[in-house]
Symmetry: C2
């Protein structure tokens, strides 16, 4: 049982079987197989009152999509799941014949309320779709690439290059910084009014996770941290991150937000956070984020 | 002080200043500035008896390399460090006028014995060089890209695309699996005879670190794990990984290496490992790896 949203331990990713084209084709001929559809920044959701993914049977897609556009996500309880990137269609609901039962939805809205296993399938499908879209050409030689191994490799089409490209995931750190009874909350200018979160940033080449934590907190807020401790991790396909959560202690309750990244930062005690949330003045991150979990666990004590 | 090889907390990466071309140019005009040179899979080392990087002053490179081929690594104690990818040269020692003081070396050989700060600079420079080489063309549209922000962004040259590409780092998990007084060691067929290590594998999109640990151990060795705990992390530029180290406990001392990945796997007690190492029958991973640190700490513990 995974602890964070968008993760699952239930799906068998079937890595060793991905290259077995007959095995993959057999799943695509199985009417029980289900396909998670991604369209640009959105995913296919059920149009019902109950929040859920709208997973499509392979027969409904036959003749409408190239089987090579499907990515095998894995199997669970005897059912195979695929992801489909339908981003090149102008009107995917009509062109895929999906009728009134489906709608396109932002996964950040659906994820927190959908069944967790479905949310994790959609997250995985969304991440793979983004990767395919961003790697249509070879970075080494500029030639077109094509999907292979059930969507888990893109192969350069040039005979003189032919390099294999693998899915990309960008590691990022996210950290709850505390000092005594207060924690550090900050906001970016583009966020909704009142929204505050813990600090986060991408890990760079040549950098360990703990160094990235210390660098980001100092760069963004001018705070020096120690005792950087791992908390948990989460796939975060918005668009392509792996969030690695930490806690850390500040040496001093300093603040310097003169850099470009933050609109504001504050040291707030638990009572101050609770009172500001109750008064509607402070909006914490949505429940699907590690940020929210870090803050909630700190509030609980 | 970083705990693992190739990491450093001493370097200020100067992220906020990378876009300031005048500031970057001033460092390149400073004779104290030092450049770490990468050539294909090798790095520039001193030709002396003492293992060390051969860092080059900017004057030595003037007129020989395009300043746009340099990547700002950061500053430390008033000195700026850059990385240079010289892979396009046929004979970098001659073409860069480096004379007999320098030689080309494998970082896996130099890293364990060089001063740690120098090893971390070379690792960072090697990772950035590899990224630049693999992203000369835009994955979205196939147009050439060019380096920007002191080497930390590659920008697509197409007016209709123009997307910015950021450095890529591939998260991977590495895990010491124990059961009672034994740990799981395994080898790949391409390794030197007798070399055994703990298990490792890349994290996939839509996957949390702990799920990647469980998946890799089961896929490779048929072992089910619980109690997956974070240990430490390490930049691993061979060619582009971030290694995230874990420990885990096996439910049972089972083994199934019928998959493609492993040549052999064994459960070994501390006494068995020590005896096999002493007899020259077991070769543990080099000291620069998390794998070795995990095994050494288990042997001590």
């Amino acid at each position: 049982m995974a602890r964070n949203y968008y993760s699952t331990h239930e799906l068998d990713r079937c890595d060793p079987r991905r290259g077995d084209a007959r095995w993959v084709a057999a799943w695509l001929a199985d009417p029980a197989t289900r396909v998670a559809v991604v369209w640009r920044d959105k995913v296919l959701a059920a149009a019902s009152d109950e929040p859920a993914a709208h997973l499509v049977g392979p027969a409904a897609l036959a003749g409408r999509v190239d089987p090579g556009a499907l990515t095998l996500l894995g199997t669970c309880a005897g059912v195979a799941y695929f992801g489909l990137d339908a981003s090149e269609l102008a009107d995917p609901l009509a062109e895929l014949g999906l009728g009134p039962a489906a709608r396109l939805e932002d996964l950040r809205k659906l994820g927190p309320v959908a069944p967790p296993f479905e949310a994790s399938l959609l997250a995985y499908a969304r991440a793979m779709a983004y990767w395919h879209r961003r790697h249509r050409f070879c970075g080494l030689c500029g030639s077109p690439t094509s999907s292979a191994r059930a969507g888990h490799v893109r192969v350069c089409s040039s005979d003189s290059c032919g390099v294999e490209h693998f899915p990309r995931t960008d590691p990022a750190v996210i950290v709850l910084v505390t000092h005594g009874d207060a924690c550090l909350l900050a906001r970016q200018a583009r966020w909704p009014p009142g929204r505050y979160s813990v600090l986060a940033g991408f890990v760079e080449p040549g950098e360990e996770l703990e160094a990235a934590v210390a660098r980001e907190v100092f760069e963004e807020a001018g705070v020096v941290v120690e005792d950087v401790r791992y908390h948990s991790s989460q796939p975060w396909p918005f668009p392509a991150s792996l969030m690695v959560g930490f806690t850390a202690r500040a040496l001093e309750r300093t603040l310097d937000t003169s850099g470009d990244e933050l609109d504001d930062a504050r040291w707030m005690t638990r009572d101050e956070v609770r009172a500001a949330v109750d008064a509607g003045e402070l909006l914490l991150s949505p429940v699907d984020s590690i940020s929210r979990r870090l803050v909630d666990e700190w509030l609980e004590g």
